[in-house]
């Protein structure tokens, strides 16, 4: 069990998809103008990542190695479409909120990279926890960026007015996304430098 917990921890901080692996940066900049947006996209990614990781892990011996990438894309697209069809039936109100985010997911680099690097080699249970960890890491990253941008850009959090004025409008504009991600990445690297004493190489482990 401890190794599974380690996998989740690994996705959250040491191999955080946004701040350490620098994957799926496009949605991380575009969507995170508020915490709520970050939370919705993050949740959608958690589901798709876990389902896709499990599927690929179960069927890995059937997938011919030379067509693995198209096969992974089909698996991801399948889960995205299935969620997109089932969610409006289960809960139309939730679907109305996440509709836009679910459709974005098919082309996320983080999902396909986890399938390629982890799920295609490991058994089902570690793959499940790796998917969960990566999903939560992505969720955490989006919420953190979203919170900083929403707070400094509009003076709000979760849509509730806290400051009552806009301190730095640039934060909700696309440029603000780059600033925030850059600074958080720098903080992550600074911590790594303090702990290990080595200057971090570009990106994360991969």
């Amino acid at each position: 069990m401890s190794s599974n917990l380690k996998l989740i921890w690994n996705g959250l901080i040491p191999e955080n998809p946004i701040f350490r692996l620098a994957l799926s940066m496009c949605p991380a900049v575009a969507v995170t103008t508020s915490v709520e947006n970050g939370l919705m996209l993050g949740l959608a990614v958690v589901f798709v990542q876990v389902f896709s990781s499990c599927t690929v892990s179960i069927f890995k011996s059937f997938i011919h190695p030379r067509i693995r990438i198209p096969a992974y894309v089909i698996v991801i697209a399948l889960w995205v479409t299935v969620i997109d069809m089932i969610l409006p039936v289960i809960s139309p109100d939730v679907y109305k909120k996440v509709e836009l985010f679910v459709k974005l997911i098919v082309v996320f680099a983080i999902i396909i990279s986890r399938l390629e690097l982890f799920a295609s080699k490991e058994p089902l249970i570690p793959s499940f926890f790796d998917g969960l960890g990566m999903g939560f890491g992505f969720l955490f990253g989006l919420c953190l960026i979203g919170a900083i941008r929403e707070f400094f850009g509009t003076g709000q959090l979760f849509g509730y007015d806290i400051l009552g004025f806009n301190p730095l409008l640039i934060m909700v504009l696309p440029a603000g996304g780059f600033f925030v991600i850059g600074f958080i990445m720098a903080i992550f690297n600074w911590f790594e430098y303090k702990i290990t004493g080595k200057i971090p190489t570009s990106g994360g482990a991969h």
Partner: protein, 302 residues
């Protein structure tokens, strides 16, 4: 050579399995999804007419749908067909040419409520038409009536957004002043273009008369803060604005153009063009339709 067959076969199998799963899920969820969509559409229409979630809908409020069809006659001419609700729960198809002159009226022997389903309606219209003519469904207009008094109209429209089409609904009062705008489906970017669905943007259109709409453009200026607060009911409450103050601020800004959303000028323009063209077309068509109804002396239900 053997390898290539293996790869082809393997990928084909993956695709077939995936499509089978998708087909199964689609077939299982289609009905429920359709019902939900209809329910959401009804709710949107009601909230546009001023009866939002939780509000009590008066029993004498009636919303009549009017379906517009484009018909190609057996001679190859293009005419318009309106499926109209007639008094005593009857339905008729009124044909008119493109400049609005009525041609003929064909009764449809189906109840109005049954026509809400598109397939049934298409069949009914095609059965009513002479052989050799074709009909294509174009649009549904909703006419709201309360106790014999015209309450307003709800008109759907489509506009080209940033990535795909934005579907919207505009409600008008009998003088063609916008009373509400709703976005029924859009795929704009979250955080940028998707802000068109927020009430502070949509409510900028409210109160615009047809004269104002004709000149309406988008300006790239920041939305004045007190106007923004007045446009969003939740914000107005938080700021402690009284309804009189809200009304006053809105009146002051009534003749303003639409303030573009930060970072989403294209979506803002798309919405503005969509609302303006939807209303303009609707006013033109309704005028023609009313003329035709008068000429043919139809006793329509609304």
């Amino acid at each position: 050579m053997k390898e290539i067959f293996k790869i082809t076969l393997s990928l084909t199998v993956v695709c077939i399995v995936a499509s089978l799963i998708l087909g199964f899920v689609y077939a299982k969820t289609e009905h429920a999804r359709k019902l939900n969509d209809e329910r959401i559409e009804q709710q949107t229409i009601q909230s546009l007419l001023g009866y939002g979630v939780g509000a009590k809908i008066p029993s004498d409020l009636k919303v009549y749908p009017v379906y517009r069809y484009v018909i190609t006659t057996e001679k190859g001419e293009t005419v318009l067909g309106y499926v109209l609700p007639i008094k005593d729960n009857k339905v008729a198809l009124a044909e008119m040419d493109l400049s609005g002159n009525p041609i003929k009226v064909i009764p449809i022997p189906v109840e109005l409520s049954a026509l809400a389903d598109k397939a049934t309606r298409d069949d009914a219209v095609n059965a009513a038409l002479p052989k050799g003519s074709k009909s294509i469904y174009a649009q549904t207009i909703f006419v709201a009536d309360q106790g014999g008094k015209r309450l307003g109209y709800v008109v759907p429209g489509v506009t080209q957004g940033f990535k795909s089409f934005i579907k919207l609904m505009v409600s008008l009062n009998p003088d063609f002043t916008v009373t509400g705008v709703a976005v029924t489906s859009a795929e704009e970017d979250p955080g940028l273009g998707a802000e068109i669905q927020k009430s502070f943007f949509r409510n900028q259109f409210v109160g615009k008369t047809i004269e104002l709409l004709k000149k309406l453009t988008v300006v790239k200026e920041p939305l004045p803060p007190n106007f923004a607060a007045a446009l969003d009911p939740a914000k107005a409450k938080a700021k402690g604005l009284t309804p009189e103050q809200v009304k006053e601020i809105k009146e002051k800004h009534l003749k303003d153009n639409i303030y573009a959303l930060t970072g989403a000028t294209i979506s803002s323009r798309a919405m503005t063009n969509g609302v303006v063209s939807t209303v303009k077309k609707f006013v033109y068509r309704l005028d023609k339709l009313n003329e035709a109804i008068k000429k043919e002396q139809l006793s329509v239900a609304f």
